[in-house]
Structures are given as structure tokens and as C-alpha cells.
């Protein structure tokens, strides 16, 4: 075997030059001694098909199989608008944060309000708790799953406005609404 100057080994019977060394054009940016290398081309190369969005990922999550750094606290924090606090059921004592627009309630970890401990809660979209930012109101609606939703003991068939202190019931769990956005406080103010 032959050891090239960059510390690679290759078989001269198979390769006339080191097959592991980058081609000169690729290696060029590394050569200038001590000089700062231009990191970004002034005009970026025309992106290859489907690559445009991947070039500078703001959140590194979905790039399949690529090596990516961990982004701690990455993604914008969605401002909390209130909480559901479990007062009855397997997850008694647990709080769940609510953000603006729709919060899906279910057992799956992908749900906004995920209640993993209660087997009688449907996996996906058992209920929907909506925060409507213009008026600052909370709404409760049944989800697409088969399980029923109750508010203060009454079954919920269609979206209804709920207020702080109202108790919703999904499966065996009772959740009370605690409002953070209320009279006198708004995120956009």
C-alpha cells in the first residue's frame, strides 16, 4: 500500500493516485496559509433540485439522517396563554401548557396536551382547546376521536367558550383551565 501525503492508504495496483484525497478544486479553500477563507460564495451556486431549503436549516430537525448539532431551546418559544391542570385521573397534579390557536388533547406524545397516563383518553385529538387571541377567549370542542368530552359535567357537542376554573373531562381525567392571558395581560400588548 502507499501512504499519500495526507495520511491515506491506497493500493497502487488499483489507483494511480490517492482516491481518498479531495480533488484539487474541492481542496482549494483549505490551502491559503493562515488567510481567512471566504466561507460563503458571494453569489450562492444555483441550488440543486430540492436542496434550496436544506442549505441553511434554521431548525435542524427534519434533514433525514444528516449529522446535525443539537439546538437547545431551538424553535421559537410559543408563548403560554394558560394551563390545564389535571385534578383527577392517573396524571393528577400534572399541568399542561396551552398556546395560541388550537391545542389538541390526546394520549400521543405528539399532542399539544399529551396525557400519556390515561388509557381511556383517545390517542389522537380526543378534544381541542382553542385560544382565540383577538378576544383572548378559550374554547373547548370535541375532537375527531370517538371519546366524549365534558365541560363542568355537561357533554360538549360543539365548540363552547370556557373560562378559567371550568373543568373539562376526557377519559378518566379532569382538567381545570387556568388562564394566563386574562384581563390586563396580553402577549402582543
Amino acid at each position: 500500500m502507499i501512504r499519500c501525503a495526507d495520511g491515506h492508504f491506497y493500493d497502487p495496483a488499483k489507483h494511480h493516485a490517492c482516491p481518498w484525497c479531495p480533488k484539487p478544486s474541492e481542496a482549494a479553500p483549505l490551502i491559503p496559509g493562515g488567510k481567512t477563507v471566504p466561507l460563503r460564495p458571494a453569489a450562492p451556486d444555483p441550488p440543486l433540485a430540492g436542496q434550496a431549503a436544506m442549505a441553511m436549516p434554521s431548525t435542524p430537525t427534519p434533514v433525514g439522517g444528516k449529522t446535525v448539532p443539537l439546538m437547545r431551546g431551538s424553535g421559537k418559544v410559543e408563548p403560554v396563554v394558560g394551563w390545564l391542570v389535571c385534578i383527577e385521573g392517573p396524571d393528577r397534579g400534572q399541568d399542561f401548557r396551552l398556546h395560541a390557536a388550537k391545542n389538541f388533547v390526546g394520549r400521543s406524545p405528539a399532542m399539544d396536551v399529551s396525557i400519556p397516563g390515561d388509557e381511556s383518553v383517545s390517542r389522537d385529538r380526543h378534544a381541542v382547546v382553542t385560544f382565540e387571541p383577538k378576544r383572548g377567549s378559550f374554547w373547548l370542542a370535541p375532537g375527531e376521536a370517538s371519546g366524549l368530552v365534558y365541560c363542568n359535567g355537561e357533554v360538549v357537542h360543539s365548540p363552547m367558550e370556557i373560562r378559567a376554573g371550568d373543568v373539562m373531562e376526557v377519559g378518566q381525567s379532569q382538567l381545570v383551565l387556568v388562564a394566563f392571558v386574562r384581563e390586563g395581560f396580553r402577549w402582543d400588548a
Binding site: M1, I2, R3, C4, A5, D6, G7, H8, F9, D11, P12, W20, P22, E26, A27, P29, L30, G33, G34, K35, T36, V37, L39, R40, P41, P44, L48, Q51, M54, A55, M56, P57, P60, T61, P62, G64, G65, K66, T67, V68, P69, L70, M71, S74, S108, P109, A110, S114, P116
Partner: protein
Amino acid sequence: MKYAFGNAQHIGRREGQQDAFGFSNPADTEFCAHAGFVAVLADGMGGLEHGELASRAAVKAFLDTYQTKAAEESVPDALTRALNAAQDAVRQVVADDGGTTLVAAVLRETELYWISVGDSALFLRRAGELTQLNRAHIYAAELDAQVLAGALTREAAQSDPQRESLTSYLGAQRLEQVDRSLRPMAVAVGDGLLLASDGLFKSIAPGNFPARAGDAQEYCEQLVAAALAVDDPDQDNITVLMLEAAQEASVVEVLPPVTVKRAGRGIQVMVAGALLVAGVCAAWWVMLSEPKPVVVAAPGRQKGSERFDTSQLPEIHEAANPEPETAAPPPIDEPEVSPPASGGGKR
């Protein structure tokens, strides 16, 4: 002790080769006597060409710095110094977009030393069994710890989109975690060390690596071929290096380095020829232009590495006794690898 070695690489289904690697010179017996034989592998990441630049810069700085090891300096100290130099070099090339993993292993006679940042793997292959010696610095470790502590459900930990993301890598503002061996691990003739980028072991689990046939070089090629045979449409870059304490050393011819100095000398020879041929006017012109390359080449070479001292490495996990144990997450069930000399027989 003789060293056998091999290397193989494939771009997979990616646009660029972001893996880089290199070995020290096994023919330099004087250096090998105190510094051993080193193999280093880096798996770069980042937008544009930053992944390529980062991994190549890391390998080059690492090898160049390790090469400056004096006989008095210990191998672990030299490895740490080389890692810091690599960190320095990567920071210069990628700014804050991108970085690279790095894993390096040194065989000195029957001693193994290593250092690692990121999720590239170092495996010990003893009597046909593979054991990973280093830990991957990925978010999964933190998530799984939270699951054990009851703070997170297993489902949530498994489905976290950042599960495979690196928690420590060269090019980060701080090196969050560095794993290294503080004391050497004993290896025996027949023990093999594999360094691999995740393109290999994410395609084939280490337990399913093909049985070895042939020498170290052939085994590296065999492993790359096996990973490619999985035919993942999103196959990552694959790099496999093998380092072995062997009866028969790999035969190697070492090509002289093509250094900047040498190129400069070439220019000077050409200039001298021009001086002879041309008249006095031409000589004046050449003398005016000739000093330029010398001036440019003189400053800023090397020696930027001392800025990162060891105190800047926060959480160094000293694997004081890096022998594989059941506590490590090996893909193998039997904890039979512990006595270092047990695998000495011929495979």
C-alpha cells in the same frame, strides 16, 4: 508489535463527502516508538461546504499537531493538545455554521489510547466480537436519562426529532463533552480497532457486521460494501478505518509530503533559471516579484493551537479504565471480553 491497517470510504447517496480521515506515518519508527501509530476520523456537518471543510481541517490540524509530540509528552496529553488544535482549526473555517465529530485512536505497542467528540464510533474487535469503546455525544443519551428518571415517557424520548443531534462536536463555541482514555487499554495480537462514521453503523448495526475475511484493508472495503448493500436511498457518507496489532505488518510505501515549502523552492529554482537566461532587465523584474511568496508564506503558519488549553475542556469523561464492560452499551450480550489477554489466539 507490528501494525496492520486499512481504510475505505464511500460518498453514499450524498452530494458531498463530509467525512475525512488520516493516519500518521507508520514508517517513522523513531516517532512511533513514543507516539505510537495514530488513526483519526472526522464526520463533518454544516451548510454549504462547511461539513467538508470542517472535517478536513480537523483531521489535518489533529495530525499535524500530534506529529509535534515530543518523547517526554504523554500520549493522552498529546491527543488532547491535538484535539484542541483541531477545535481551533474548525472554528476558523466554519464560524458558527457547522462542525465535525472526531475520533482518534493510537496504538503504541500493546497499548491503546483514544479520544472522541461527537458520534463517530471506536470499536474493539476481539475474537470476532465487537464492543464500542466510546460514547456517542448525542441528545438521545440525555433523553434516555430523563426516561429513567421518570421525567419523560419512553415514547416521547424515542420520537424526539432531535434524538440523533450532537450535543458535543468540534466547531461548537464550547467543547461540551470529550471522551478519552486516561490510561491505556491493553490490546493483544489479533485485536482490531475499527473507527467508523455513522454512515456505517446506522446502516448495519454493529451486531450485524459481516464476518471478517482477508486483511485489514479488505475488511474495511467489505464493511463499506455491506453498508451499501442495504441500499438506503439516503445513505450517509461511510468511512471505516482499521488499526490492528498484527503478526504481519501492512507493507507501506510512504509518499513524501507536497509541502508549501517545497513548492516555494520550486518557484525559486524556476526564478533562478529565468535569471540565467534573461538579461539584467529581466533580473530586476524577477527580483521585484520574487520576495512576494516568501512574505506571504512566512506569517501565520501553525502554532495557533496553544490558545485552547485543557482547562477549556469542561466535562471530560476520563475513561480511566476503558475496558469494555456491561455498563457500556455494547451490541454484544456476553461480557466475556474483560480479560485483556484472552483473545490472543489465532482467529
